[in-house]
Amino acid sequence: MSRAYRIKVAEKLSRDITASDEICSDLEILEILAPEQMGELLKGKLAERGFEEKDGTMTRQGNGVTITVDPKSGEVRVKADATESVELKAEKDDWGYDDVGPSKEIIEKRLQEGLKKDLEKRADAKQQQLQQKATERLEGEMSEVRGELNRVVNEITREALKIKARSLGEIKEMSEDAEAGTLTIKVEV
């Protein structure tokens, strides 16, 4: 008479998963002054806003998002990173018989392989979730970053126009019309 027995197998998977998303583009910097001077102005304005110089670029980190601006070329990189340690556990069981069918070792091996596949799938799903999180974080930050960098560009444009005007002659009058979005500089040459 055959005796049935229950085989239970448990598997564990520990993994550090990472995800990132990145936007790379150029700032629209007008060539009012020499590129080096425009770069210096940009560097100064970014420093005022908490950017730090690192290997010739200006960088700021916050909310899992890193903004890097190259003042020489105007290239901007906005990168969102996300990391997570996942620990997944799973259990499976099956029945075996001492005199018929596959042996205990074979059943255990089969269960372990099945569990490993399941855990890999769950880890992939976690990876996808984390990727989505990184992208959502980047999308969330983008409008603010865009607005801030556009303000910086406009500030340095105004600054550069004033420097240029001063280099041309004596500034007699300067007025800014916020409604019309214009800056008028009268220079006596």
Binding site: I23, T135, R158, A180, G181, T182
Partner: protein, 369 residues
């Protein structure tokens, strides 16, 4: 007309059924015969494939090639009175007025017949699966005909799949220039061939003659982009188009044959006859959107690769303006300035830049103050 009737009619040459099939295929490829008579030949296998062709068949095939290719090039734009650059000088007239008969000679090798023999006698997957070929340098006529064969078989994906693995097509610059999107690859960078050999000699004359046809084709290509719904396919096709443009424009610039790129200026002029939005190219992308923003932006930028080519042509215009009367390139510079003005390059440039800016994430629309 059936073989029997062919034989019956006194003055006509008698050829076999298979040979008649080859002739139908050739005439269809040369835009001389109707597709409904040639396409069944490509679909249905002949029970017997002869090892050699009769003298009559060879005569008719040669005759069709000779007349058909010339007629194709004339209709493709060779008939137009155009200006072209030859050794830095501007020549004007129809293709045969600005070239000597010797320059216009098209040479075909027997590889052309091998290709037609394979197309008529075999189906993809059958033996021989590969079209007979040699390592010999292809002749000008061979390359033109291969492009026409590619064009004729575009509705048959199983044939294109075989062609893509064959060097005679994959390394044929004319095939790439006419149908760049067909060379999209799933992985790696598209391996677009070098166009240097097409910048002089009889191959450059083919490009001169085909300016109108190329313009039509590229307008059609750009208009069809908005109907692409799949992000991945759009990315793959755009990379193939960008690689082709890059290789082609590099060759034009290196050899001073900017006149061969004027079809592109005309294409952009026609597309940008009004102001457009990026949706013209990417508005159809509705299938599973890539999760990463980086992938989305990369695809959108790639989709506008033809629009971006205006920057290169603008650079040529800027360089041309700086050329003086005593410069060697003065006439070529004047030629390009003339083309730029004739096709309203400045308006096209402004409209292209506006579209390119719209997809950039850091475009600045705020007033300065």
């Amino acid at each position: 007309m059936s073989d029997a009737r062919l034989a019956e009619s006194g003055g006509l040459k008698q050829i076999g059924l298979f040979e008649a099939g080859m002739l139908r295929v050739l005439r269809y490829m040369l835009h001389q015969g109707p597709p409904d008579r040639a396409l069944p030949v490509l679909d249905n296998r002949f029970p017997v494939v002869p090892d050699r062709l009769s003298e009559n068949a060879l005569h008719l095939l040669r005759d069709s090639l000779r007349k058909g290719c010339v007629l194709y090039l004339v209709r493709a734009g060779g008939w137009k009175r155009e200006k072209a650059l030859r050794n830095g000088e501007v020549v004007e007239g129809r293709l045969w007025e600005r070239s000597t008969a010797d320059e216009l000679k098209l040479v075909f090798s027997r590889r052309v017949l091998d290709l037609l023999w394979w197309l008529t006698g075999f189906r993809p997957g059958e033996h021989p699966n590969r079209i007979p070929t040699t390592r010999d340098e292809p002749s000008t006529g061979d390359e033109l005909l291969r492009m026409l064969v590619w064009e004729g078989c575009r509705g048959k994906p199983e044939l294109l799949k075989v062609f893509r693995t064959q060097e005679m097509f994959a390394a044929n610059p004319l095939c790439w220039l006419m149908f760049p999107e067909d060379f999209a690859v799933a992985e790696g960078e598209p391996n677009c061939p070098d166009f240097s050999s097409w910048m002089s000699g009889p191959r450059s004359l083919i490009l001169e003659a085909m300016q109108t046809r190329l313009e039509e084709r590229w307008v059609q290509l750009e208009r069809s982009r908005g109907q692409q719904t799949d992000w991945v396919q759009m990315n793959q096709q755009s990379r193939a188009v960008a690689a082709t443009l890059s290789q082609f424009l590099d060759a034009c610039e290196r050899s001073g044959r900017v006149d061969l790129a004027r079809f592109l200026l005309r294409t952009l002029r026609r597309i940008f006859s009004t102001e457009l939005s990026p949706n013209f190219w990417i508005g159809g992308l509705i299938s599973t959107t890539p999760m990463r923003m980086a992938d989305r932006i990369e695809t959108q930028r790639a989709a506008l690769c033809t629009v971006r080519a205006v920057r290169r042509m603008h650079r040529w215009e800027q360089t041309s303006r700086s050329r003086g009367f005593y410069d060697e390139e003065y006439r070529a510079a004047k030629y390009w300035l003339g083309e730029w003005e004739r096709h309203d390059g400045d308006t096209t440039l402004t409209r292209c830049e506006a579209v390119l800016q719209q997809i950039e994430p850091f475009r600045n629309t705020d007033p300065v103050v």
